[in-house]
């Protein structure tokens, strides 16, 4: 209920603002909705959203899997940390644009280059978060697992993984928002479809209703995924905490 109210407030503010500024710069909600419907009818909206989502999913999975493994290793093994640390600092501070442009130059304007570039941008934050998680592992529980002769798999699944879960969730949460942002830049610069590409086109044609139609559809998809996928997952992971409170 409160969510609906806040959504209505957003629409109202938008409408009033468009009346004040003028249609040319900020079209009112019905115009944008019409543009959205037109794109949906032609199928372009779903095609582009789908292309963007697929890139997000691939880049996110790649970066999370690789980043978690590297982060865990760096948190547990001192040598790995010493070797990896300079690279990590370099990657953390490398602007997204540099990675994307270089990837397109070296690997061509290909899908692989785009996904790889997006993943590289997210990778270091996942590594840093998981490294902290691995450093915070409780040695007392490790000892318990050793005394009771837990197998490696059993110890990892029941002792280590639950301790890392909040860190994995944090990395996923911050990583997903980062990927949502960077994927559009990568599409704008070198893909022939996707939300980023369409926004680029709309910008060149100064087609503001189209621009807003794509931006808002994209925002809606992000919102739906966050509420239906990410949040329930986080709640499930921390249910033992909730009940203990």
């Amino acid at each position: 209920m409160l969510r609906l109210l806040s959504f209505a407030l957003f629409i109202a503010t938008w409408w009033i603002a468009s009346l004040l500024i003028g249609d040319a710069k900020l079209p009112p909600p019905p115009v944008v909705l019409a543009a959205m419907m037109a794109e949906a009818k032609s199928g372009a909206l779903f095609l582009n959203l789908g292309a963007t989502l697929a890139r997000v999913a691939l880049a996110f999975t790649l970066a999370m899997a690789l980043g978690s493994a590297i982060g865990y290793l760096m948190g547990r093994v001192r040598l790995a940390n010493r070797l990896g640390d300079p690279w990590l600092i370099l990657l953390l501070n490398l602007p997204a644009l540099v990675v994307i442009v270089l990837a397109y130059i070296w690997a061509g304007l290909t899908e692989v280059a785009a996904i790889f570039a997006i993943a590289i941008n997210k990778l270091p934050t996942a590594v840093v978060t998981l490294r902290e998680g691995a450093r915070a592992l409780d040695p007392a529980l490790d000892e318990m697992a050793t005394v009771f002769a837990f197998s490696r798999g059993r110890a990892f699944r029941h002792v280590v993984l639950p301790q890392l879960a909040p860190y994995i969730a944090a990395a996923a949460r911050s990583g997903l928002s980062l990927v949502w942002k960077i994927v559009l830049v990568a599409e704008l610069l070198g893909r022939p479809n996707g939300v980023g590409f369409e926004i680029g086109v709309a910008f060149q044609l100064f087609d503001i209703p189209l621009l807003l139609a794509y931006s808002l559809s994209f925002a809606a998809v992000v919102l739906v995924i966050e509420t239906l996928l990410v949040q329930p997952f986080e709640t499930r992971l921390s249910r033992w905490r909730l009940r203990a409170a």
């Binding site: 000892e143 050793t146 005394v147 009771f148 837990f150 002792v159 639950p162 033992w240 009940r243 203990a244």
Partner: protein
Amino acid sequence: MQLDVDIKGKSFDSAAGKRHDVLDQIAFTLNEGEVAVMFGPSGCGKSTLLKILAGLDRNYQGRVVRPISARLGMVFQEPRLLPWRSVEDNVRLAAPNVADDTLSTLFEVLELGAHRSHFPGELSLGLARRVALARAFAVEPDFLILDEPLASLDNALAGRLRDQIAALVANRTMMTLLVTHDLDEAVRLGDRLLFLSPRPARILHVETIATPRAARSEQEIEALKSRLSRLDLANM
């Protein structure tokens, strides 16, 4: 099956680079069916000794011979349960082969039946200790280590839990090592009492109690306690 302990010394370097001797010479053997009690002041190195005996610390001089096939059960000073697993899962993860009725009996003896599906965070310290005890007994150990299992519980609760431990220990033939700084607990649960010195720990005095655990009268226990508390351990 027996445990041979012959430790020549154990020290570690502090963060400041200073050498600390934790253990001096400690030698004893522990036989099947016997309960040895380590009795010593706080901070004398008992927990370090237990870590060595449990195989968690291999960095010491001397040797500890434990039969390879011996299953180890341990109750740590803190319960060390997995907070994200239920009481029953905590026990089953440590003892995957435990039979359902063994587990039920164990939960019944320790009065945990109503708490099977609770998470450790929902339990009091006394209950969490019992879960840790259930876990150690569920593996059907050949070598059981109890590190101050009754510390920081009130007297009534400690007394009840002590009787439960006595019953469980009597039920199974194994080597049992109990650490405590409560003389009453030591005299009631132990067959052989090892008195340890302050750091670096060495064995000051060994007291063997001839009467079987179950047959000791209150009078006998009181007499033992008053005799042992008069021991001038500082000058041995």
